[in-house]
Symmetry: C2
Subunit: 149 residues, 2 copies
DNA sequence: TAGCTTTCTTAGAATGATTATTGATCTCAT
DNA sequence: ATGAGATCAATAATCATTCTAAGAAAGCTA
């Protein structure tokens, strides 16, 4: 498994992106976070490096970084957006019990969009896929907490 | 193709659901809508039948109907939730240009969640899948509007 | 059927995430 | 240097949704 290790699989900085101190910190914070933080969580972590940064700026920076292909925005239902610096092809697994979000990488090259019958002449440009369930830790917790009745 | 025709593929009313006039109207409105309306759109359409109904009641009724398996809630990014009375297995195709939402039914029995490598011991209970792109109408519009440059 | 309990509905307030506004500051190509 | 355009911070505004409180309706129970 190829993880999103620092220095690997990082997209080059787009030439048209002015990398301001705030944007750099927001980018670094998300890259250093393996828990898919929300904008508010990014804000709190960024403040440790740039105490004067504002939440609005964090939102602006996140938007800009997503628009320039340096971050992914992860949405589940209508909960707060989360952000992810792993730009490799992958989807997210959300634990319904503890809320953790984990990356899940594709095993095959299967062209997934062909699995459904689309209106004739449609052009698919993007797939939004999320897996939900119970993470290994919560499965274990449940097993010890409530043994077979 | 089996459409969601009235009288076909409709789940039986759950015994533990009190079918109040408001809930019945909300259910009927969504069943009669083929455009996946938002809560506010359902509210406006329901008012034609029950002028005194409130938006909060529409939200309550939609929640209850979803919880009882009579409607599906459709989320894309952080836009308003939309509602769907087609309870057959399907996903949604969203046109990024006109915003239309169309049902797309599975072609095969492929166990989709096996396409990704999940944390060892995870238990997947749900798949959230949306297809995005350009619908046939907008593809046509684009072709006539801006011919090959 | 009367009385009691629970559920449902309504209007309006509250929440929470996000976006818009505004004025100040910064950057970079002239 | 300078002036246009980008970015920033603080704050206000927006928007979908949820909460609250009080009244209305429906369901039991005697």
């Amino acid at each position: 498994m190829k993880a999103n290790l620092p220095g690997h699989d990082e997209p080059a900085l787009p030439a048209d992106l002015r990398m301001t101190p705030q944007r750099a910190v927001v980018h670094e914070v998300v890259k250093a976070s393996y828990d898919h933080p929300t904008a508010t969580e990014v804000f709190m972590r960024a403040k440790e490096h740039v105490p004067a940064i504002s939440l609005a700026t964090v939102y602006n920076c996140l938007d800009t970084l997503v628009a320039h292909g340096l971050l992914k925005q992860v949405n589940l239902d209508r909960a707060s957006s989360r952000f992810c610096a792993n730009m490799n092809d992958h989807v997210h697994f959300h634990c319904d019990q503890c809320g953790a979000v984990a990356d899940a990488h594709p095993i095959s090259e299967m062209p997934i969009s062909t699995l459904w019958k689309l209106p004739e002449g449609s052009r698919v440009t993007r797939l939004d896929i999320a897996l939900r369930g119970i993470c290994p830790e919560c499965v274990k917790k449940n097993a010890t907490a409530k043994p077979q009745v």
